[in-house]
């Protein structure tokens, strides 16, 4: 029997079983559940830094990674999280599955469900795909990104990184900058940060701020200087290069000139402000390497590390519920 990470037993002893069967949307969670998830994730961070990092919380469980969109970091992050908790993990991708032969998402889900997995991690290009899958399978479903809807484990790892850097998320001023309209990371972060008590701003050109976002309880800015004024965290989003086609932005150089983050722009933020990015970065398009690579400022590598811990917390919480049936 492996030793549990320090703090883990204590967190587990005082927390309630996670009340959700699936992990689909940051908006489904409340402040208590989030606090417990973050505590649990926190206990995994130090554990992951040890030489031996194997637990048996998911021993005997099967976890399937179903990634219809390619991803390096999220998929390997989930795979590692599952393996470190002792699960058997399988990776499926559309190129090797029959999705490319015209099988529908539901058909695939029903087929995979028949193999009796315990956890299904899904990424898909359509908003709502994870929710659809969850209706059709008997196991727990984790949303690893559905279209332009949500990417809740990313928001959890971002909150974890912020909490470790600043001590608490409550009261932090966070600016989410760039292509908010097409970003599931932004949507999950707006929901989760608001629950945790942060003040959220969205900064970007009007073409990349979703219409109706003014009703999300956030402040909206169309220029970086005023948007970054006094913020503690600057979260940059990736600009998909195909956005040039839809008349959303004219060119990468104009975008960088007005919405890119460099040291000068960052100087408008609060002293000690930190920079985040969900990756992968377009250096010189939305962020200058000088800022991205400065360990005093950037939390970007840190976010990747937090990703494994946050996903372990999600999987462990869902698995604990699995025990109950």
């Amino acid at each position: 029997m492996t030793e549990h990470p320090p703090g883990f037993n204590e967190v587990r002893a005082r927390t309630f079983p996670f009340p959700h069967r699936h992990f689909l949307s940051a908006a489904d969670l409340d402040i208590v559940q989030l606090g417990e998830l973050l505590d649990l994730a926190d206990s995994f961070v130090d554990f992951n830094r040890q030489t031996s990092k194997k637990l048996d919380l998911l021993k005997g469980r099967t976890m399937m990674n179903l990634f219809f969109e390619s991803s390096t970091r999220t998929q390997s992050s989930f795979e590692l999280a599952g393996k470190r908790l002792g699960a058997d993990t399988v990776n499926m991708s559309p190129k090797t599955s029959s999705m490319s032969k015209g099988e529908t998402l539901i058909d695939t889900a029903v087929t995979l469900n028949a193999m009796q997995p315990d956890l299904l991690i899904i990424r898909h290009a359509s908003s709502g795909a994870a929710a659809l899958l969850a209706q059709k399978v008997g196991c727990s479903v984790v949303n690893a990104g559905d279209g332009q809807h949500e990417h809740p484990t990313q928001a959890l790892l971002d909150a974890l990184a912020m909490r470790r850097a600043f001590g608490a998320v409550n009261g932090l001023r966070v600016a989410i900058c760039g292509d908010v309209a097409h970003s599931r990371v932004a949507r999950s972060n707006v929901a989760m940060l608001s629950i945790l008590g942060a003040q959220v701003r969205l900064v970007g050109p009007p073409t990349l701020i979703p219409p109706g976002a003014e009703d999300w309880g956030v402040e909206i800015f169309h220029d970086m200087k005023s948007g970054l004024k006094g913020v503690d965290v600057v979260m940059m989003l990736r600009l998909q290069l195909e956005r040039m086609q839809g008349a959303l932005v004219p060119s990468t150089r104009e975008y960088f000139r007005f919405y890119g983050l460099d040291r000068e722009r960052l100087s408008h933020a609060a002293p000690g402000a930190r920079v985040m990015h969900p990756g992968p970065m377009n250096r010189g398009v939305e962020i200058d390497s000088d800022v991205a690579d400065d360990p005093e400022i950037s939390l970007i590598q840190n976010q990747v590390e937090m990703g494994v811990a946050a996903r372990m917390a999600v999987l462990a919480s869902l698995a604990r519920r699995l025990e109950n049936h």
Binding site: G128, L132, Q148, A181
Partner: protein, 433 residues
Amino acid sequence: MARPQPTAFVNARLVDPESRYDGPGALVVAEGVIADVSKGKGFKDLSADIRVVDCNGAMLAPGLVDLRVKTGEPGAEPKETLKSAALAAAAGGVTSMVVQPDTHPAVDDPAMVDFILRRARDIELVHVYPAGAATRDLKGEQLAEIGLMRDAGCVYVTDGDNSIVDSRVFRRILAYANSFGMLLAHRPADPWLTRGAAATEGDFAARLGLPAAPPAAELIMLERDLALAELTGGRLLVDQITTAGALDALRRAKARGVRVHASVSINHLSFNELDIGDYRTFAKLDPPLRAESDRQALIDALAEGLIDIVVSAHAPAPAEDKRLPYDEAAPGSVGLETLLAALLSLFHDERISLLDLIRSVTLAPAELLGLQTGRLAPGAPADLVLCDINAPVVVDADRLRSKSKNSAFDGRRLQGQVLMTLVDGRVVYRAPQ
């Protein structure tokens, strides 16, 4: 087939939009037409060879005329055939349905019009009228043979769900069709703003991360359509108006004498965008569901008479086209069987009088197409619906007669049970006891 015996429907609540009568009465059907109508107490002495049906106070109204029905025939029969649609229509009290031309192949020449009419004759349930394509193959480029299609029996022209983008083509269709007395139906939607959209732009769609189009997409195209209707003097049916902004444009156009009529789908009168909920694809429609304020404006516009006609917008889509991620799922809802009960909600909610509601699905569309049906008058075709307007029903999509079960009303509690439907005096539907 032997002629049915003359039948008297007694003890009914007659609702006749033509004479604006809503009250007790009786009616005799003989030889396929309404032979006599008695408003008030009923007939004193009926001859012994007349069969008598006691309606027990149920509503007896003209059968419904539905101007917008899609089937899958020809080309997509697993979705819906003319027969399955006709069965659904009969069960819903719809006695005349206009089928859309966007089939495979499209109904864009007289032979296809004739094909639909012959199939309908063989099925012998409800009246089926083909709408013809306005342009060849619904491409919005070349005129279809509107005159020949009219002579073959088509009742109006439309490109269905496709926008006619080219304004010059649109103008010419209006002018040309008008010379044959043909109405052009067009669903206004700016093709660029609506490209790829699955929902109405706003806070809710943005939260769900759905591709969305602003309500102005409807207004922009509608203003063009109205300007060209005014220019040409052609007759235009605004197919499924859905937004408050477009209603204002419609009102202004009507005030300056443009020959325009407007329809609204029962779906847009019954649901708003929040009914999409957790990506419920049965609520994915085209045009998409709108804000609650738009829905309220549509109800007011119907009450006021600005909108003339309610349609079911019956659009069958099988499970395999609906059980997909929201943005990939097919739009549309079946509606023939639920149209009347859903419409009656507006009466039960005391929003619109029963007479005005019935008018919008009977006399108003019949007059627009020049049909004799839609009234309770001696000599009119005996196309009738007998309905217990108070009976509670829970819509169960699996029990609908359509081949596709995609009803946005699935699970809804409504009031209104069709008891009997007659077409030309023949009973085409009788509710199971």
